[in-house]
């Protein structure tokens, strides 16, 4: 059309030589290397300072002997590792029940049907109550209180919990499930409410019933959205399983304290901390991986 346009056409992009990086790729590579170097240096510096401050303190030799005794660590770590399965098993028993019960409570709170109004009230009171009472108190009251009611004599078995009616292995997990469901229900509820009204309109306009809309359109989106916060709750559940030790369940933490009581050395507690970290860190990575994959799968571009 104009000279200007023709001129623009003549400026060709730098042609691509096979096996050679383009200008942009070179720049990206330089930038990657530079950020890696900076990250490494700042990490080394931070850790260096922390270690220098801690080990330079006057009390360090005593703390080191009391908390970081390598010989004791080597002895205690494998033994505690043997109790890891108790924590994992308690977690695996509680988690599915918490998801189910939490979802039930969340759905109760979201009912719009006037007939079900009492359920709404129940759900609201339930979440307020269990989120308001410290978990450790819930465990104490339910774990020691309910068996004392002597509602049933003898044994009960339920989903792998069980044994004697007054067994801590029954009432401990139930207390945890009741307490955690309140938090999880609130997370689900927030997820359900975050799904835009237009999604419901879209589904209803196709003839889907209220229940079908909830089941196929609202809940899948709600659940996907709340998986990261949910995983946070489950990470803390994994740790709070240790609270069941107050009922007499021997797991990693309880075992560590009893070793400590015998030896007057805190190293087993440090070993227990390491064990919990080993358990929870892969879980956090899993959440990150999942969230990323989900984001990549359903959207065209991922903004980094």
């Amino acid at each position: 059309m104009t000279e200007h346009d023709e001129g623009a056409d003549n400026v060709s992009a730098p042609s691509r030589v096979p096996g050679q990086l383009t200008r942009r790729e070179q720049w990206l590579r330089r930038r990657r290397r530079r950020s890696a170097t900076v990250a490494l240096a700042s990490t080394a510096l931070t850790f260096g300072i922390v270690i220098a401050v801690v080990t330079g303190s006057s009390g360090w030799p005593k703390v080191k002997a009391l908390f970081f005794d390598p010989a004791r660590f080597k002895d205690d770590f494998p033994e505690l590792l043997g109790y890891l399965w108790v924590d994992v098993k308690l977690f695996l028993q509680c988690a599915p029940l918490i998801i189910i019960w939490g979802m039930v409570i969340a759905l109760c709170r979201n009912t719009r049907n006037p007939v079900l109004f009492p359920l709404r009230v129940f759900a609201a009171v339930y979440t307020d109550f269990f989120r308001g009472v410290p978990v450790i108190l819930t465990i104490y009251l339910i774990g020691f209180g309910i068996p004392k009611l002597k509602l049933i004599e003898g044994d009960v078995h339920f989903l792998g919990f069980g044994g004697a009616w007054n067994s801590p292995y029954l009432w401990g997990p139930i207390a945890l499930v009741l307490a955690y469901s309140a938090y999880v229900a609130e997370v689900f509820r927030a997820g359900i409410e975050s799904v835009h009204e237009s999604q419901r309109a879209g589904a209803r306009s196709l003839g889907l019933s209220q229940t079908q809309t909830l089941r196929h359109v609202v809940l899948p989106q709600a659940v996907r959205r709340v998986i990261p916060p949910l995983m946070n709750d489950f990470l803390s559940l994994q740790k709070d399983v240790a609270l069941l030790s107050i009922l007499g369940i021997v797991e990693v933490f309880r075992r560590a304290t009893s070793i400590k009581d015998k030896t007057f050395n805190f190293t087993p507690l440090v070993a227990a901390a390491v064990i919990f970290l080993v358990l929870t860190i892969p879980e956090t990575r899993l959440v990150d991986w999942y969230t990323n994959r989900q984001r990549k799968r359903t959207s065209g571009t991922v903004i980094t």
């Binding site: 237009s198 589904a203 209803r204 306009s205 196709l206 003839g207 889907l208 359903t298 959207s299």
Partner: protein, 252 residues
Amino acid sequence: MTAKLRIDDVQKSFGGKHDRKVVLDHVSLEVGEHEVVCLIGASGSGKSTLLRCINLLEPIDDGAIFLDGVDISEPGLDADPIRRRIGMVFQSYNLFPHMSVLENITLAPTKVLHHDKAEAREAALELLSRFSLADKAAAYPDQLSGGQQQRVAIVRALAMKPELMLLDEVTAALDPVLVGEVLNVIRDMRNEGMTMVLATHEMGFAREISDQVCFLKDGVVLESAPPDQLFTAPAHAETAEFLERVIASGRL
């Protein structure tokens, strides 16, 4: 013969006792079988509300809506079987982001009409290829352009084989290049005899496609006439004024 859709003296207002706002004020309208009716009017004139009332997404305060002569606005009536017969397409597509294009389209036929999965899939793919979207079946809505998303939304509604289609400013969120592809789809539907009510700001298109144009202002149907009449010799000064403003903004 009874009209496919008859809207009879419908009133609708939002808000409570003290801040009551009348959004549809004694609206009456008839749409014959295979007819296309366009609703035009400024933003806030009640076009979307009228379409949502027809699809029973909003309850009306007074009046009645008849589909094939049957009052569908009767209080307490189960709305789901009626909505099945009426397709609706929204300005913002309202596709389900967690489902692929194919799943979006087959959801209602399988869950509501209980069609066989394979059969619904087959029908969906056929519709998709008719609208040049066959290669997008596995894509997710966020991976499509606005025009493609809107066409998928139309296909999703068509998959239910509706007797009546309601389209609410389906091109309003699209940039001009993409508007054309969506309008073509609507033209095709018209040529196949679909009965449609559409709210639109595309005056040229309204003039071309409709049998009847309704001009709404503040919830009142000020004028309802065949397009040639309404666009060339509007009976109301306010219609003329609205059209002038639209022409000035370059949309005719």
